[in-house]
């Protein structure tokens, strides 16, 4: 179940970007204005993407924004199932979500840095990039 708080956040965005895999095996993304119906998102199916055969499949919808002074990048990423209810409408059944907001508190920033350092060293190790060791902090 997606919390109503998340839906309230989604309503703040003008549009979301729907991504799915097209018939050629490439990702295909379009910006769409969604309505919230129960636990689903719905939207009018754009006529121009009909020929790309939007098949029922796992898909993503991302809502993201950055404010004008670049201080607050944020996003909500929804994972779910794309289904075509009728020819003119798309339904995206939300299965899970993740949210990314800029961390503002000192503790949260410190935690982010510690985690990032660990992941960065892991990447260097996995790729055999021995010319650098992530510094202690």
């Amino acid at each position: 179940m997606i919390d109503e708080v998340i839906f309230d956040e989604i309503r703040e965005y003008l549009y979301g970007v729907l991504s799915f895999i097209d018939e050629g095996g490439y990702p295909f993304s379009v910006p769409l204005t969604f309505q919230i119906k129960g636990q689903n998102l719905t939207c009018q199916k754009p006529q121009s993407i009909a020929y790309n055969f939007v098949k029922p499949q796992k898909a993503r919808v991302i809502f993201h924004a950055v404010n004008e002074d670049f201080t607050n990048p944020r996003q909500i990423l929804l994972k779910g199932q794309l289904v075509e209810a009728e020819k003119s409408q798309l339904i995206f059944k939300i299965e899970s979500f993740s949210r990314g907001n800029v961390v503002r508190t000192r503790d949260a920033t410190d935690e982010l840095i510690r985690k990032a350092k660990k992941q960065a060293q892991k990447y260097l190790d996995e790729r055999g990039l021995t010319w650098y060791k992530i510094l202690e902090w």
Binding site: S19, I21, Y26, K58, A120, Y132
Partner: protein
């Protein structure tokens, strides 16, 4: 088959300027979709730039956040959507979707020169951010909705690969 039209290059190469006190940060935020190991799309907002000479879309990511890199190494097919250029200097901004193949380059030791130029405090805190994986996208297909109306058929441009 043809090259990338100049009006498309204008959008790909445009910069969106954000003022923050005494500095201007110039970015172009696009939605980059990759295919994960399960064959599903995964989308990331990413700051991109455009190499006009090599006709490639360029972006990078910290070695701490490499999920998209793992996806690309497994499946090079990507889509880059330029959905919104409202705060750019462009008078008219179409919706542009690029499909192509991405290539990943691990960071090289030359980044150490850059790191040494930073203060020790900055290095200790943000080395994970400053060491980056580079990605170049070879453009194969472009969808353009000139009037930003998705009900209109897009112009579709097949792009000749670079030699």
């Amino acid at each position: 088959m043809r090259g990338v039209p100049s009006y498309i290059e204008e959008v790909l190469g445009a910069r969106v300027a954000f003022g923050r006190e005494h500095q201007i940060v110039e970015v172009q935020v696009a939605e980059v979709a990759t295919i994960n190991l399960r064959g599903e799309p995964e989308t990331f907002p990413i700051y991109t730039s455009y190499d006009k000479k090599r006709k490639k879309i360029i972006f990078s990511t910290s070695i701490a956040f490499t999920r998209k890199i793992r996806n690309i190494r497994n499946n090079a097919c990507v889509a880059v959507l330029f959905s919104n250029m409202v705060v750019s200097c462009l008078r008219k901004f179409p919706i542009i979707l690029i499909q192509g193949k991405a290539e990943v380059s691990d960071p090289e030791p030359s980044v150490l020169t850059y790191l040494r130029q930073q203060s020790e405090e900055k290095r200790r805190k943000f080395d994970w951010f400053m060491i980056r994986v580079n990605v170049e996208v070879e453009i194969e297909k472009i969808y353009v909705w000139k009037n930003r109306n998705l009900d209109e058929q897009p112009q579709i441009i097949e792009v000749q690969p670079n030699d």
